[in-house]
């Protein structure tokens, strides 16, 4: 199928994201909600669904849901109710999931995403509601039986449901990235898609451009990474357009995406769709949230990534690219802000943080906080580079590793020991340049005939024989002068 055919259609995507909340205990009982543990060790009479037991709402779950609502510009519904969603599955011991159907805690918000040309687009949020997670089934451990671990049963979730406002795999990816950023900033979910603490289902349909007629939508379940979300969306777009072009009907099915084949397959047809028979949960009294309480939660919100980007553009005059890169992770942004307390060279600091410092932390398998005790010497290095006293490459490849290897060393001492000070002595520099230029007389002629590309060769050799001790800017200047004099 050609790009031309695909271009006749709009891709329409709505996402449902489940985020596991970082509470100590479950949504309706006091057993541990943490990941892992021995099988069936994080359980209680409530989470294993024993008859006669009564659930009780964890206040923190409500608070976290409200915070997410504020962060996504939602209306917070003060009157809340829980409902039962009835279906039978072995990892759902009660035979129903407690969720919110008619009266979700948050409604009608939006999240701003960056699209291709750096412009912004608001993706509307339909609702955010609270619910409990199910347990885990293992189908391949035993020949005859499925094994059930209920540690996850009752772990609190919020489900964030978008309107079908996303129009491409890139937009869908940007949206999930933004949601993940928000839950991490709010510290309400760790955002780990591989471990399943952030899960994504995509509702995908296609429509002919210029019409208002939406095709039947297919729901693709359990996309466990942003990359797989994009792959599934692109696969579905082609599959559905192909069917429409052939004049066939798109069945409203629930699909499964196979990450190893890149193909979607039918999980449930519409006929097999569950009838959930929702009804109000009589075991949980309703919630009437006090205005004062929800305002207090609003006041507790941290500065969100979007606000930080704006502040970085204004206060530190960073590029939009750098500001977004730094604020993508709250820990990185916090570290940057600590570093700029020591240095006025904001742009350099930003580049050091997202470049060599981040790489160093990654190599150690840690986050940037391990460098917190070295903020002062790092700012000294930045200063030396900015003042052209040492070369950037030498700073990254020699000085910084030396600082990390030897604690409590002063930077001037290290620079001295490593002999990294740029020679401002033009004589020595001229010596290097003369040597390199005399190596390649034919290249000098090419240069004079207008082939400027050979400059790279000269500069490369000059940097090599000076062992990175000279400043490329002045070397470049002196090299040009030298070549000019030879003409």
């Amino acid at each position: 199928m050609t790009e031309k055919v695909l271009a006749k259609y709009d891709l329409v995507i709505g996402l449902e994201i489940h985020a596991q909340l970082l509470t100590k205990t479950k949504i309706f009982s006091s057993d541990s909600a943490s990941f892992g543990g021995d099988p069936n060790d994080h359980t209680s009479i409530i989470s294993v669904g024993l008859p006669g037991t009564l659930p009780k709402v964890n206040e923190k779950v409500v608070a976290y849901a409200v915070k997410m609502g504020w962060a996504t510009n939602c209306t917070i519904n003060k009157h809340n109710r829980f409902d039962r969603k009835n279906y039978f599955y072995a990892d759902l011991p009660k035979g129903y999931q407690i969720t919110q159907d008619e009266l979700p805690i948050c409604q009608k918000g939006f999240i701003t995403i960056q699209v291709k040309d750096n412009s912004e687009k608001n993706i509307r949020i339909n609702r955010i509601h609270m619910e409990e997670d199910a347990g885990k089934s293992m189908h391949d451990r035993d020949d005859k039986y499925s094994l059930i671990d209920l540690n996850r049963a009752g772990v609190p979730l919020i489900e964030i449901v978008s309107e079908p406002d996303l129009r491409s795999a890139e937009e869908a990816a940007a949206y999930v990235t933004e949601v993940r950023k928000l839950v991490r900033y709010l510290d309400i979910c760790d955002g780990n898609m591989e471990e399943g603490s952030l899960r994504c289902d995509a509702n995908i349909s296609v429509k002919l451009k210029g019409t208002d007629e939406y095709g039947a939508r297919c729901e693709v379940k359990n996309l466990n990474s942003i990359r797989n979300l994009q792959r599934a969306v692109n696969y579905e777009f082609k599959r559905q357009v192909k069917l429409v072009e052939k004049g066939e009907r798109i069945e409203q099915n629930t699909l499964n995406f196979n990450a190893s084949t890149g193909v979607t397959t039918v999980l449930r047809s519409k006929e097999m769709a569950n009838d959930y028979r929702y009804f109000p949960e009589p075991d949980l009294p309703p919630l009437d949230l006090a205005e004062e309480w929800i305002q207090k939660l609003k006041a507790e919100l941290p500065e969100l990534p979007e606000q930080r980007v704006k502040r970085y553009l204004k206060d530190f005059e960073l590029s939009h690219y750098n500001a977004s890169l730094l604020t993508a992770d709250r820990g990185v942004a916090d570290f940057f802000e600590e570093l700029v307390l020591y240095t006025p060279y904001y742009k350099s600091a930003a580049n050091w943080v997202t470049g060599p410092l981040q790489s160093y932390a990654n190599e150690k398998g840690k986050d940037l906080s391990i460098l917190r005790s070295s903020l002062k010497p790092i700012s000294d290095i930045i200063k030396l580079v900015e003042e052209l006293k040492i070369n950037y490459t030498a700073a990254v490849q020699q000085l910084f590793p030396a600082l990390m290897a030897k604690e409590n060393q002063s930077i001037p001492q290290l620079v001295h020991d490593l002999n990294l000070f740029i020679d401002t002595d033009d004589d020595e520099l001229t010596g290097f340049i003369d040597e390199v230029v005399s190596r390649y007389p034919e290249k000098v002629m090419e240069y004079h005939k207008g082939k400027k590309g050979v400059l790279g060769l000269f500069m490369g050799d000059i940097m090599k024989i000076s062992k990175g001790k000279i400043d490329p800017k002045s070397a470049n200047k002196l090299l040009l002068e030298k070549l000019k004099s030879l003409k």
């Binding site: 509470t23 100590k24 205990t25 006091s30 057993d31 541990s32 021995d38 099988p39 069936n40 060790d41 359980t43 209680s44 009479i45 294993v48 024993l50 009780k56 709402v57 964890n58 206040e59 923190k60 409500v62 109710r81 009835n86 039978f88 599955y89 072995a90 089934s137 293992m138 189908h139 391949d140 451990r141 035993d142 005859k144 039986y145 499925s146 094994l147 059930i148 671990d149 209920l150 009838d275 028979r277 109000p280 009589p282 949980l284 009294p285 309703p286 919630l287 009437d288």
Partner: protein
């Protein structure tokens, strides 16, 4: 109210119950009676009456996020018809190919 066997079969499937042909006959009759009774109740004008969901007026019954372990895995598994040392065992839910 008249019902058909398909409805009975659907209800049985949703409840994951196996119902014999003989049982279907009596179940159909029972359900028709129940629904007829409901129809009678539906004759009452209840517009403006809030549905009764809760049996008392309590609101905002909340719990602090404090961990408390009240059972161990052995106790969790105790009432299950089938289990090993650590897991519940149930009929295979999906076929592996």
């Amino acid at each position: 109210m008249k019902l058909d066997y398909q409805t009975i079969e659907r209800m049985a499937h949703l409840a994951r119950l196996e119902v014999s042909e003989v049982e279907k006959v009596s179940l159909l009759k029972d359900m028709e009676n129940i629904l007829s009774f409901m129809e009678k109740l539906n004759e009452l004008d209840t517009s403006g009456v809030e549905p009764l969901i809760y049996l008392n007026d309590e609101v905002n019954v909340l719990r602090d996020d404090v961990e408390k372990n009240d059972i161990c895995p052995a106790e969790a598994l105790k009432n299950a018809p089938l289990h090993d040392d650590v897991y519940f065992k149930v009929a295979k839910v999906i076929e592996r190919n």
